[in-house]
Amino acid sequence: MDVNLLVLQLLNGLALGVLYLLIASGLSVIFGMTDIINFAHGALYMLGAYVGLSVIDATGSFWLALLLAPLSIGVVGVFLERTTLHRIYDRDPLYHIILTFGLTLMLSDAVEFIWGKSPQQFPGPDAITGAVALGPIFYPKYKLFLIVAGIAVAGGVWLLFEKTNFGLIVRGGAQSRQTVRIMGINISNYFTLVFGLAAVLAGVAGVLAGPFLNVTPTMGDQIIITAFIVVVVGGLGSFRGSVVAALLIGLVQSLGTVFVPQLTGFLVYLLMILVLLVRPQGLLGEYEVRSDSTKVTFSEIIEPVSITDKRALGLLGVLALVPLGMGSLYSPYFVGLLSLMFIWALLALSLDMVMGYMGLLSFGHAAFFGIGAYATGLFTMHVFNSFVAAAAVAIVVAAGVAWIIGALSIRLTGVYFAMITLAFAQMFHQLALTWNDVTGGSDGLTGMPTVDLFGAGLVSLGDTATFYYFALFVTVAAYVVTVKLLDSPFGRVVTAIRESERRVSFLGYDTNVYKRRAFALSGAIGGLAGALLATYQTFVSAGTLHWVVSGDVVIAMMFGGIGTLFGPMFGAGLFIGLQEILSSYTDQWRFVLGLLLVLTVMVAPRGLITVYSSVRDAVRLRMGSGGGPQRDAATDGGENR
């Protein structure tokens, strides 16, 4: 073994680990105090790099950038917390996570708009260029600086937590918010400060990473996942755990590329799975995750619309007529777009089943979508060109994967579950990118045939109208089956688990069995959606597995109305439609989506389907025809949390 190479990789690992540490420690501290998983943290890191870039452009000084950029990110963090999260701390954590996801979209697109999409060079400080001789090897001075600076900042943060009153309050607050309040301290101000501090750290990481990694609008997307993994491996809410895990993961990554190059990109996930299996609370997890950090509750229950409802039948009637106008009233493109809406509706349905009905925060539904798509593509290419057969395979594989992911993650509480599912999906994304021979890597799976429904030339799904009818049929059928499923004895247990898992287990039910099975069923529907997607596109891109897709489904579900089955399907249609319309006007359509998502969470948490009834009630009230149903009054929990 080459000792020089080992030293080199150790140093590289440290450099990476230090970056992870700066980001993960912020995530971890925010979580420790507020139970919030801050998705926007990666975007703040990215924003830090860009602001730094602009400071350098203006002043030519790296050092000024290193000072000013983090401070401005801190201000942005405080502003975001005060205008959004601060107002909804009393809500279920699900909404917090989704809100920060919306913020991520907004930040990313704002950056693209201001600084452009293309990667940019980030000049390092003049004083620290070139390499330095460390014995027989030469090592870039900047990376050494990065290691030292990062450790210094982390050390400073540690001192801040250990030695100052601020740190004392934050540590106390992580243990008991209420007790800190009876020390006469307004803890909610510290939520803001902690958020700001974490943002500053993300900003520091952004500027330090600049000269070392490419500066792009997507640079936060991958690092946030790794940071999640760091937090999980280290132990949620534990600063020391984050330090250990960040350095460990940095080293595992850099040494892995040398010693087990074929596993590059997977090692981190494997490490996480290992830790979860052996020590679910993380290496140094000290704080127990508060049980209320996992809940999904609704102030009103909205039953799924029956398929025989007049309005539903009317809508289906209209949809059935759509292809007739093709060519005369509108182009086939429009019909195709509707087909795509059906596919997404199916995916949103699949997500709502576990998130809305069972309360499992799955942020990795892209996995089932992508797996279904790849399975269908590969099967039709290499085995038999039949949708029925391929979809059966896709469903079985996706359900199987879902079952396994479920089995590994389900005993963990909600927030962990969100991160774990996300990480698993990213692992499949990585697999699709690297397994070139099979998946076509980053080029995607090309060369798929036009798919026949039954095979051997029977009913080609290449025809726009045929595919449209078929997709409509599958979507409606899946909806009917899901509604029936949730109305079954099994479904009633599932819904009861959302309301109180403890209560259900004390009735004798093994809740994990139900959760696993529901997750597998959800995976099956996701796989079916993927099968349709592959058939529709006759192409599968690795992007289908990217976590942004998982996020998009969550958005679609929230738009429509979580926990209603039909709401998310409308939401998905709306999502695809909006995307289509917005993207024809602006490249920054995700900004608008993100904004809509944030507004939905803040103003209409049960989605657009409730806006109609809220407006109707309000109108009735104004017209004096007696009150509509009372909305559940907000409890006084807000300030008391």
Binding site: I301, K484, D487, V493, A496, S505, F506, G508, Y509
Partner: protein, 251 residues
């Protein structure tokens, strides 16, 4: 009389704190057995140990003659041991009927069937209706539990626990936070149901008068240890109990 529940040297420590120390307890079938003691005496911990929510540090638990130490809550529940919680735990988003039916459904082989309607389990539905009548919520069976007042939520929880047809029902402060009238009517209800349905009742209760009037046996806990066990009269006469209730300091 046969013994339904027996703990032997049951001990639970949280760090340096001993929440339960060498608790030996025997519950006879068909009786009403109360556990009393000051706050922090370890009553809820004892219930949590017996029902599998906590794992004991040492000692054993036997239920109907079988060792159930270390079993998880659903396994314990399947053996016929049901419980309520100090803070009412019902399915807020479901109707009263659905709340009870989910519990009643467990006895049916088709409890996790996916391809039939829950309504087709007519036995479970019938039993749920019956129980709602028993606990006095029949006329509101289609209201969501979240809309119920406190006392009614308590009654609903008792209904849910009963629907599993337990051999032993453990109630953790079933009347906490209730007005006096509600308290008495709830306790009477539970006892009547225990008689009718033939289950053994074990409860933690603070209202000493009620405890004295309904219990066959009383176990007194203090600082995690049993300081007395016996009939109401025996417990009343016990010197140590008097000290516990009047405070240890010589005043």
């Amino acid at each position: 009389m046969s013994t339904i529940l027996e703990t032997e040297n049951l001990t639970k420590r949280f760090g340096s704190l001993t929440a339960n120390g060498d608790v030996n307890l025997t519950v006879e079938s068909g009786t009403t057995h109360s556990v009393i003691g000051p706050n922090g005496a370890g009553k809820s911990t004892l219930f949590n140990l017996i029902t599998g929510l906590l794992e004991p540090t040492s000692g054993s638990i036997r239920f109907n003659g079988e060792d159930i130490t270390g079993e998880s809550p659903h396994e314990v529940a399947r053996r016929g041991l049901a419980r309520s919680f100090q803070i009412t735990d019902v399915f807020d988003g479901l109707t009263a009927f659905e709340n009870v039916r989910v519990a009643a459904q467990f006895a049916d082989d088709r409890r996790s069937s996916m391809w039939r309607s829950a309504d087709s389990l007519t036995d479970a539905g019938g039993r749920a209706t019956e129980i709602l009548e028993d606990v006095g919520l029949a006329d509101r069976s289609h209201q969501r539990a979240a809309e119920f007042a406190y006392g009614d939520r308590r009654k609903l929880e008792i209904g849910i626990t009963m629907a599993t047809e337990p051999d032993l029902l453990m109630l953790d402060e079933p009347t906490a936070g209730m007005g006096r009238e509600d308290t008495i009517s709830t306790v009477q209800l539970v006892q009547r149901l225990a008689d009718e349905r033939g289950f053994t009742l074990m409860l933690i209760e603070h209202d000493i008068e009620i405890v004295m009037s309904i219990s066959d046996t009383i176990t007194v806990l203090q600082r995690g240890e049993v300081i007395a066990e016996g009939t109401p009269d025996e417990v009343r006469a016990d010197e140590e109990v008097q000290r516990a209730y009047l405070g240890g300091a010589q005043l």
